[in-house]
Amino acid sequence: MSDHSLQTRFDRVALVGAIVTLAGATAPPFVELRPNRLVPGTVHSLADAGVWMFATWGLVALALLSAVAPSAKARSAASSASAYGLVAVVAWALGEAASTLLVGQTSVARVSIGSGAWVILLGAAIIGFAGGEERKRYLLRRLGPPVLVLAAVVSAFVWGGLDNISLAREFEVRADSFWQLLAGHLALAGAGVALGAVFGVPLGLWATRDRKVRGVVLGVTGIIQTVPSLALLGLLILPLSALGNAVPFLRDLGVRGIGAAPGLVALTLYALLPIVRNTYVGLAEVDPAVVDAGRGMGMSSRQLLMRVELPLALPLIMEGLRTASVLLIGITTLTVFAGARNLGILIFEGLGQFAPDLILLGALPVIVLAVVVDVALSALARRLTPEGVRA
């Protein structure tokens, strides 16, 4: 027993997180002051921020304490406090740095988030991860800490000068279009998943009923997945524009070579593989004895499907929808090359203009969306899992 407790007493993940955080707090630039958004500028470290430097050290010390905490509960609490505290401190330190550095500068001068700040946030993520597996599972139930840290970041915007940071400036400039692009992103990815489910679930079901169909369906959806996204978009432009030109009614509905249509078709095709495969596996894995018993007791094929097979396959089908959703939220950024309008526009404009903060303005919401959808659909899948088969 003592051997085991000795092994678990020291949490190496928290130690790694603390080291990464320290590295971010000392070595590289915390912020970068540039005369305008395109040219390189002067770097400033967290040490210049005084009180925030000490706060960071304090939180790193807390993370180290969590690594040697005697109980799992204390470990989890200390590492959570350290991780969430670091996020709040970085937000406020960035805000203060931006407000002080911009004094006396021209209006086009920018303060960008430096690599040091990102490294600290990475360290915070590692420390938070060290808190234990349990946190992820109960993320939705324990809303307290995430709400607190969100409040800290928002207050840094309002009172801490974080609104002076370059990323916030980029947002201000594009505030109107940002929300439209976000909505367009959600709508396109959501429609892709919905269409993927509308076609994918029946296809997966069909694959379980017919051996020949199974080979074709699983093979073709697998091949689609290997086609590079941009190539697939390019391949769709010509046939879709031809179809739109040939059938004016469809053209009015938006079927054109350029716009949302090729993107939606491509996204639907990408969503098929995880949805079809998980539907197929979920249904195929239902115990044959259960199916035999149901049939032998006088269930019709339809009753068997609705009351036995689908409920038992539902967790895996939901898992397929979750995978497809996370996948599509990322791939949707590429559909801007075929003329769709979504967060991808910010990313590729930023790349074109060599403006890292604009890239971030597009990429950060995509990451946040993917994480939120991932967590939300996991929770939903758990709720939909029948009690008797829950792990």
Partner: protein, 376 residues
């Protein structure tokens, strides 16, 4: 009542079941038995049309199964399989309620029925109604499987190796309980097994099959005493005499032993006066305490000293046990006789080795007679 006439099932050129005819009367247990691939399961599954016959006719309670909708037919035939197939996402109560639900029973009636059936199969409803299949042991799950098959009170039960996947100890217990339930309910049962002991123990009629053909269809006694051909003879095995004992219940051959009550004042007198050498001793409630050997009893000793105390569970057999169980217990303990007790360990009789011997040789006379007739 179930009647199969010239039933055939073809797979390509192969005949899985070949021109099979048999008739099972209402309330009878018919066991289909044979080596694997003999067509016994195919036959069972043709009765509820999970497999469609290629030829012949199957009548269930006077109706040709081919004239009924498969779903309607199956709802009237209880179905139990070796792998049980309980629905893992439904509680025990809802598993039992599957067929009643299909038949449109109301909730109240289904709930009452589930309780009733759990009692019948020996599970406490308070404990088991809300459990899920994965929380059950193999034996418990199979009891629930039987309860589920009985839910809508079908006149016919189809059982495909129902006790094949449980351990030997639990299998015997389940067999005994099935026999008890069947004595109570009188279902018409088609029971598939490959275990000849199980067949002899449970069957009213045994249908022995080989390569899709019926070899013999008769009572277990008949099959043991007069195997129809060499295959049946070999299949039944060399220990036919021993197997016959499975068919005889202890309570049918037991006799009343000499009994005295523990602590009774006339104990010594009655022991001395008894004609038997061994006397059983019971307590005030009738429970077996032990026995006395009158040969050990000296005139001036306290009779209690001649008492050998025993654990009733170890040193007796239940009245509904088979004679084979009694014999094996006697051999294990090295006794020439064994006490018979009821389910509360109360002494109800005694079985002697002589009685076992008699039951064992009963059928042999017939066999000898036939042999002589053949010779003559």
């Amino acid at each position: 009542m179930i009647r199969l006439e010239g039933v055939t099932r073809r797979y390509g050129d192969e005949l899985a079941v070949d021109d099979l005819s048999l008739e099972v009367a209402e309330g009878e247990v018919c066991v289909l038995i044979g080596p694997s691939g003999c067509g016994k399961t195919t036959t069972l599954r043709m009765i509820n049309r999970l497999i469609e016959p290629s030829g012949g006719s199957i009548m269930v309670n006077g109706r040709n199964v081919m004239s009924m909708r498969p779903e309607e037919l199956r709802r009237g035939l209880g179905y139990v399989i070796q792998s049980i197939g309980l629905f893992p996402h439904l509680s025990v109560e809802r598993n039992i309620g599957v067929v009643p639900h299909l038949l449109g029973w109301d909730k109240q009636r289904m709930a009452e029925r589930a309780r009733e059936l759990l009692h019948l199969v020996g599970l406490d409803p308070e404990v088991y109604l809300e459990k899920y299949p994965r929380q059950l042991s193999g034996g418990e799950a199979q009891r629930v499987g039987v309860a589920r098959a009985l839910a809508a009170d079908p006149p016919v039960l189809l059982m495909d190796e129902p006790f094949g996947a449980v351990d030997p100890l639990n299998r015997e217990r389940l067999q005994a309980e099935f026999a008890r339930i069947q004595r109570e309910l009188h279902k018409t049962v088609i029971f598939v097994t490959h275990d000849i002991d199980e067949a002899i123990r449970l069957a009213d009629k045994v249908a022995i099959m080989r390569d899709g053909r019926l070899q013999q269809f008769a009572s277990p006694e008949e099959v043991l005493n007069h195997p129809a051909n060499k295959f049946v003879h070999d299949f039944v095995g060399a220990d036919r005499a021993l197997k016959r004992l499975v068919r005889v219940r202890v309570e049918d051959v037991m006799r009343s032993p000499a009994i005295v009550q523990e602590g009774s004042e006339e104990l010594a007198f009655r022991v001395a006066a008894g004609r038997r050498r061994f006397v059983y001793v019971i307590d005030a409630g009738g429970k077996l305490v032990g026995w006395m050997d009158t040969a050990d009893l000296e005139p001036d000793m306290d009779p209690a000293e001649a008492l050998t105390r025993v654990d009733p569970a170890q040193a007796s057999v239940r009245s509904d046990a088979s004679l084979r169980d009694a014999l094996s217990r006697m051999l294990g303990l090295g006794f020439r006789a064994i006490a018979v007790t009821d389910d509360k360990c109360r002494l109800v009789g005694e079985v002697t080795f002589a009685a076992v011997e008699e039951a064992m040789t009963e059928g042999d006379e017939h066999i000898t007679n036939i042999a002589e007739e053949d010779a003559g």
